[in-house]
């Protein structure tokens, strides 16, 4: 990569390259919101891009791990197309692989529709003379399809990112810890060498990747620590623990996300943050409980700010432990045991 290209692939906190406060959607339905990264995170991202290594992000749920990838995609598109992507109508190549408990490593690369091919072959083989009756005009399609195995192939997020790229695409492997414990280990070769073979295709055209330095994917992986990840996998990743934002950062985030909606509501916001801090501290100390994250705080504030009457909102905040504020507490504290603990604490202090 030339020096300029290396320089291009850097992320920086910038006000200009931020999506509007209410968020935008790209044609594929992904949402982009303003994002205020922490300095350490910015450095870790830049390091991962420069070294071409996957970056594993861990942190408490709701601290913005997944949003990092969107923010990076938005900023790269902004730099490349010299303007906001929603205005230019051009977006950065960005692939999300949402891992679930049944995900297999193969799914991210490609799937081969063997059953579909079997059906086509049987249609052709059993009664070719009656095909016309069954399929009408589709017969030609069927004949063409059955000659080319690649027709039954569909690529997964990582598979797509490793071919036909002009820039470095972003691949987000979200919540990798949800999958089977072998899942990360099954991805080692693909993440290391960025290539794979499609065993169903003929030998001369079955190998995908590796990409060049200028089209090498930027791989971000998030994990909620539900399961420990295997060491060989960890060794190949750079690692950053996204800490929970500090009070000042939270205030900035609120400013960015709500903009004019929070003008003249300083008292409300600061009281809400006080309550949030108290709840966070309480649940953080309690084994087995999970303190609320940034996303929950934003929901909580949305509920408060939607209230046109600031006075009512403030009184609701004061009565968080009682009936009046119960619906608000539900936005922050999700289990009954935790709610009971919080109510006791808030009730005692007020």
């Amino acid at each position: 990569m030339t020096l300029e290209e290396t320089k291009f692939y850097t992320y920086a906190e910038s006000d200009a390259a931020q999506p509007p406060a209410k968020g935008v959607r790209d044609p594929e339905g992904r949402e982009y919101f303003p994002y205020l990264p922490e300095p350490g995170l910015v450095k870790a991202l830049n390091l991962a891009m420069a070294l071409g290594r996957p970056l594993l992000l861990e942190g408490e749920p709701g601290c913005g791990k997944t949003r990092v990838a969107n923010a990076l995609a938005y900023q790269l598109a902004y730099k490349k197309f010299k303007g906001k992507p929603e205005k230019k109508g051009k977006w950065w190549n960005f692939y999300i692989w949402n891992v679930t408990s049944t995900s297999r490593a193969q799914d991210g690369l490609y799937t081969f529709d063997a059953v579909g091919r079997l059906r086509d072959a049987q249609l052709m083989g059993t009664a070719p003379e009656r095909l016309q009756d069954f399929l009408g005009d589709e017969v030609e399609d069927l004949k063409k399809r059955i000659k080319d195995k690649a027709e039954y192939l569909s690529y997964g997020p990582l598979g797509k990112a490793l071919q036909n790229q002009t820039d470095r695409p972003i691949v987000l492997i979200d919540e990798i810890d949800k999958a089977d414990s072998d899942f990360p280990n099954d991805l080692l070769l693909e993440l290391d060498e960025l290539r794979f073979t499609v065993s169903e295709l003929d030998q001369d055209n079955n190998s995908i990747g590796p990409p060049t330095d200028t089209t090498k994917p930027i791989v971000l992986i998030t994990s909620n620590r539900e399961k420990p990840l295997p060491e060989p996998f960890l060794r190949r990743c750079l690692y950053y623990y996204v800490p929970f934002p500090k009070r000042r950062k939270l205030e900035e985030i609120i400013q960015k996300r709500f903009e004019e909606k929070v003008v003249d509501k300083d008292e409300l916001v600061s009281l809400a943050l006080d309550k949030f801090d108290a709840i966070y501290d309480l649940l953080d100390r309690q084994p087995g409980s999970r303190p609320p994250g940034t996303s929950e705080l934003l929901e909580f504030l949305t509920a408060l700010i939607e209230d046109d009457d600031t006075e009512t909102a403030i009184s609701e905040l004061h009565n968080l432990a009682n009936e009046e504020g119960a619906y608000l507490l539900g936005a922050l504290v999700k289990t009954q045991a935790d709610q009971r603990a919080v109510k006791e604490q808030l009730g005692a202090s007020s």
């Binding site: 870790a44 390091l47 620590r225 960890l234 087995g288």
Partner: protein, 380 residues
Amino acid sequence: MSTLQFPFLDLFEALQRAGMKLSPEQYDLLRQALGQGFGLENWERKNWDDLRQVCRVLWVKPSRNYDVRIFERVFDQYVTAKRRKIQALWPKAEEPEASRPEQPQPQRRWPRVPPGKLPTIEEVAPETDDADKLPVSVQTGLEGLPEAKHDSDFVLNPCQMPLSQRTVLDSWQFMRRPLREGLRHELDVEATIERIAKAGYFSDVVMRPIKSKRAELIVLVDDGNGMLPYRPALKPLVDAIEVAQVRPAKLYRFTTYPDEYLYDWEQPTQAVPLDRVLAHMHTRRTIVLIWGDAGANQLNPVEEHRTGLQIFLDRLSPCVRSLIWLNPVPAYRWGGTLAAEVAYWLDGRMTDLSVSQVLALAKQPVSDDRLFLRAPVASR
């Protein structure tokens, strides 16, 4: 070997010595990063924080072999040593305010070391003024030992026990992974296709049992007096069962070894016949976890305990899907006690409270045969 060619190799080696399992490739990553200008952004002002951040991103991982605490400790020591060296070389060089202060030298004047204990008072504290000639305590080089900065470092809470809440839940996840069991109810598409491919025509479908997640946990806790000190370490598991994070699960008590009766967890005076507990177990679902020292605290094995345990394990093993013995006494203390023998019979299913061992045991495959026990060695 020049330091320019291999920058910070001594730091890398110090981290390796302290127990981080870093590979040469990971050192190379640092070289590449430095080559691209990372880590030395504020080097002119002798700021080590950027380097610390880069090394942390490269080398620290959520694993015991890449522990952040080891990293921070070694890095602090390294920086302190380097600063001292630089000061010795250029004593007049101005040391700018570092964002992370060096290990503070003791500022307090109390408590003082009694004067008689030291050969020359003046040598130890030459700079104190006349009125204050008593020596102050001086930090000695306890290299390798973590320094406790606050009293709170000594307070343990259940979250810091070797068996954390997280480990308990992780291992439960592993233990209750789905198994195929019961009648063949599900169409195995892949095997069917394979059969068609082999035979050349469609003859019959292949069925397989449905995967189901139906594990239950039975915890047997030794509550003899000798086990009392270890009770807090069991708390995460008991808590997880009580708030139903681990379920279905049942707790029983026994003393030294379970004989004819187990005792209820909530009401310790209520005896439950062992036969009844065994009869309710399911060979494909029940996972038994035993919490006890297996005699590791007693140097001379008691014959009665040995036979008692043997009979119990022989009766238990055909009834369960898997068996794990958690022994809170560290493994190196088992030698020569009954615990070593029990560990031998159990063929590796006894572990002390090491997280990786516990998780490895939880992951052990479930065989279709009955649980294997090694025959005791006759002459002991």
